[in-house]
């Protein structure tokens, strides 16, 4: 009997052409779109305009320093500050540096002079990097000018330099040393599409039976609801896991996205998440009046869940009660765990909490669905 139910559910999933296409091709299309979108991987080139109003050797030195700065690439040298500002407004450049007239003369005479750096802050991916680059240029330029000024006051070169070299930084970005955006986002975005596709399938679990005219006959036949829905759920979760294997294979094997933790741990974790996700879809399908409503309920949760999961904007930066609420969603645990298990390998002991949380969500949602379905 159970085998017959399993085969029946597989047939239904296959015959639902729309769902079949979504499950088979949705995540694969996601891999293609997201990997190609982030194929540049690292944001290295920030278009910069330099306005050199001085045109002295000192100002040319400064232009050279800017062109050598981390991330900044000089793409325009407009004649005036308003022209450079216009380039920022139009989005043609993101950083503009204005070197004032008499820059070189003031520097030689040890007088104060100001260099203006304007940064387009409208896209923060750019502006955070641009500000860091500007800070570094400003520090270098200011220190060199200061050393020269001290030497002009009769201080030996070494002493003048040591006045500015108080503490230097050795920076180490851990877990993603090249600050690679593709490493950070591509797998998570693909898994986001995968979990949305899985939710669509899970949302059919109960309503696909109870919404049919034959449901009464089913009940009269004396078949246990428990056997029916457990069989259906096993097929669904099995399909979800079959779908994830090529995704992980392509991402880690072909695209070489980082996996610092254990394969086995990640697969087990994904399985527990698939169960928790399926339980949420099943709950939605238990109280919906028809499959369209059930799909809507599932997706109302699944669509914003990635944003709420703290994978991008961190959980710690959300108000504490929001943190508590979003932890009711299995996606929050999954995407948080994904970051740890792919980048950091924190070990099985640490992973335990994530398994327990997802397990609890599954128990609660399946129980709720069972209570509602028992009355149908």
């Amino acid at each position: 009997m159970i085998k017959a139910l399993l085969v029946r559910e597989l047939t239904y999933l296959w015959r639902d052409r729309g769902l079949r296409n979504i499950l088979l091709f949705g995540p694969l299309l996601g891999i293609l779109i997201f990997y190609v979108t982030y194929s540049a991987q690292i944001l290295t080139v920030i278009p910069t305009a330099v306005v050199d109003l001085d045109r002295s050797s000192a100002s040319r030195d400064l232009v050279t320093k800017i062109s050598q700065a981390e991330y900044l690439q000089i793409v325009a040298q407009p004649a005036s500050a308003p022209e450079a500002e216009e380039l920022i407004r139009r989005g043609d450049v993101l950083v503009t540096v204005v070197i004032p007239e008499d820059f070189g003369r003031h520097l030689t005479l040890g007088r104060q002079t100001s260099v203006y750096i304007g940064i387009d802050g409208s896209n923060m991916i750019y502006s955070t990097n641009a500000t860091t680059a500007a800070l570094t240029v400003a520090k270098t330029v200011s220190a060199e000018a200061g050393v020269k000024a001290l030497m002009a006051r009769g201080l030996p070169r070494e002493q003048a330099k040591s006045a500015y070299q108080r503490v230097t930084l050795q920076e180490e970005p851990w877990f993603n040393p090249t600050l690679n955006y593709a490493y950070f986002l591509v797998l998570a975005l693909i898994l986001n599409i995968w979990q949305q596709c899985c939710t669509l399938a899970a949302a059919t679990n109960i309503i696909s039976e109870t919404g049919r005219p034959s449901w009464t006959q089913f009940k009269l036949a004396g078949l246990s609801k428990w056997t029916l829905f457990v069989s259906k759920s096993v097929v669904h979760i099995g399909v979800f896991m079959l779908l994830i294997l090529p995704i992980y294979g392509i991402c880690f094997g072909l695209l070489k996205l980082p996996l610092h933790g254990s394969w086995l741990l990640l697969l087990l974790f994904t399985l527990v998440f698939a169960i928790a996700l399926h339980s949420v879809g099943t709950l939605a399908s238990s109280f919906a009046r028809n499959p369209v409503d059930s799909t809507r309920f599932g997706m109302i949760i699944a669509l914003p869940s990635f944003i709420l999961s703290g994978y991008g904007w961190p959980l710690e930066a959300m108000p504490s009660f929001v943190q508590s609420v979003v932890k009711l969603l299995p996606q929050t645990w999954f995407f948080q765990g994904l970051n740890y298990f792919t980048f950091k390998d924190p070990g099985w002991l640490f992973a335990r909490h994530y398994f327990v949380a997802l397990g609890l969500i599954a128990v609660v949602c399946y129980s709720g669905a069972a209570v509602i379905t028992s009355r149908k």
Binding site: D16, V115, S142, L150
Partner: protein
């Protein structure tokens, strides 16, 4: 006009009979705006959990510790005294950054040698990574300035002389449009536009499929009403509700989440109306060609993430390959989100937005043409196949 209003009235009645649709149109957008608003309400990443491993335990190393403790950017996590503990804490997410002050730190300073601090930060989440790196550099730059000033004072220089030397070249940097680096300003409004996009699309896309499933679409097809009147009547309620949601969500963003929404109100309304026309008309057309409500709901649900990611709203279009940019440029969201940012954040006048206006205007024309000239010819009755998952017939 009367016919259009009659159809619109009929559609409104249907909307109000469908409780879930009512919730989707009137509650879900506000709910999403509220939830996302709460997520981004702080807007700025502060209090980055930081571990300081002080291996020197000197007066100088304590000054470094104090510099980080006094920074509003960092929140020092105590109890991490060794490099191994720092490594463990970073792996478990207890801290997102660490500073290691080496042994002989003070000695190196006394010997006029440059002393090096090791700073590490969690780059597995680049929001943490990039911001923390910036904050670390800011703190150390300020610390160094203080140390240089003290050093020069030790050489007998007056305060004015020190200022003169240190400000020989004063590099002032100014961040335009979003000087506080607020995520609410940068990200939240784009998210709201996507919410509006999806809710409108998902609701109007059922307007014809629902009639097809109830066998009432045939009444429209066999009526003497021209196609454009059927479209106008059925789309009108969604158009109005969607524009209401647009204004409501922007009001929430500006007043409660404090996202920066400035610029010309006229342009905000003009682009909002165009966006609304495009989604409503294409949504209707999708509904016209779609086989049933379940399929159209499923497919449209999956549009949001790829449309948002490829739009260039976050990862810039300059770094996205041409093919993806070309596809993204077919989506109204790509143009609308950029135009919206240019109006509300950059405060730019219409002259900068002519391309966006032309493209969105063109999309509106195409959408209206498709949806108002649909064929009223009845298709031959479909063979009623197997009912799958209670919703679709094949």
């Amino acid at each position: 006009m009367r016919r259009i209003i009659n159809i619109a009235y009929y559609e409104t009645l249907i909307i109000f009979k469908d409780r879930i649709l009512v919730l989707m149109l009137f509650l879900v957008p506000l709910l999403y705006a509220a939830v996302f608003g709460l997520v981004y309400v702080k807007g700025i990443l502060n209090d980055v959990p930081l571990a300081i491993v002080d291996l020197d335990h000197s007066k100088s190393s304590r000054q470094v510790v104090t510099a980080f403790e006094n920074s509003p950017r960092f929140q020092r996590v105590s109890g991490i005294e060794t490099y191994a503990q720092l490594e463990q804490a970073m792996r478990q997410g207890k801290v997102r950054a660490g500073v290691v002050i080496p042994e002989r730190f003070e000695l190196q300073q006394q010997q006029q040698q440059p002393s090096q601090l090791l700073t590490v930060y969690d780059a597995s989440n680049l929001l943490w990574g990039y911001n923390t790196r910036k904050y670390l550099r800011e703190v150390i730059t300020d610390f160094n300035s203080g140390q240089t000033a003290k050093y020069l004072a030790g050489l007998g220089m007056s305060e004015q002389q020190i200022r003169g030397v240190m400000n020989t070249v004063n590099c002032n940097y100014e961040v335009w449009y979003n000087p506080t680096f607020s995520y609410a300003t940068y990200f939240y409004t784009g998210l709201l536009l996507m919410v509006i996009h999806q809710i409108c699309l998902l609701s109007i896309s059922l307007s014809v499929t629902r009639d097809k499933e109830r066998h009432t679409w045939v009444q429209f097809l066999s009526s003497p009403l021209p196609s454009w009147q059927i479209f106008a009547g059925k789309a009108l309620p969604y158009f109005i509700v969607n524009f209401f949601n647009y204004t409501l969500l922007l009001w929430v963003a500006a007043h409660f989440v404090h996202a920066k929404i400035e610029g010309s109100l006229g342009l905000v309304i003009l682009f909002g109306l165009l966006f609304d026309v495009i989604i409503t008309s294409f949504g209707f057309f999708i509904s016209y060609v779609a086989p049933n409500s379940l399929q159209v709901t499923r497919y449209l649900m999956l549009v949001s993430v790829p449309a948002f990611i490829t739009s260039g709203f976050t990862w810039p279009q300059t770094h996205i390959p041409l093919a993806i940019n070309a596809l993204a440029n077919l989506m109204p969201y790509t143009w609308m989100s950029e135009a919206f940012r240019m109006i509300t954040l950059k405060n730019l006048p219409l002259s900068y937005l002519l391309t966006h206006l032309a493209v969105l205007g063109g999309m509106s024309v195409v959408g209206l043409a498709l949806s108002s000239t649909f064929s009223k010819q009845r298709k031959p009755p479909q063979h009623s196949g197997v009912l799958v998952n209670s919703g679709t017939k094949y």
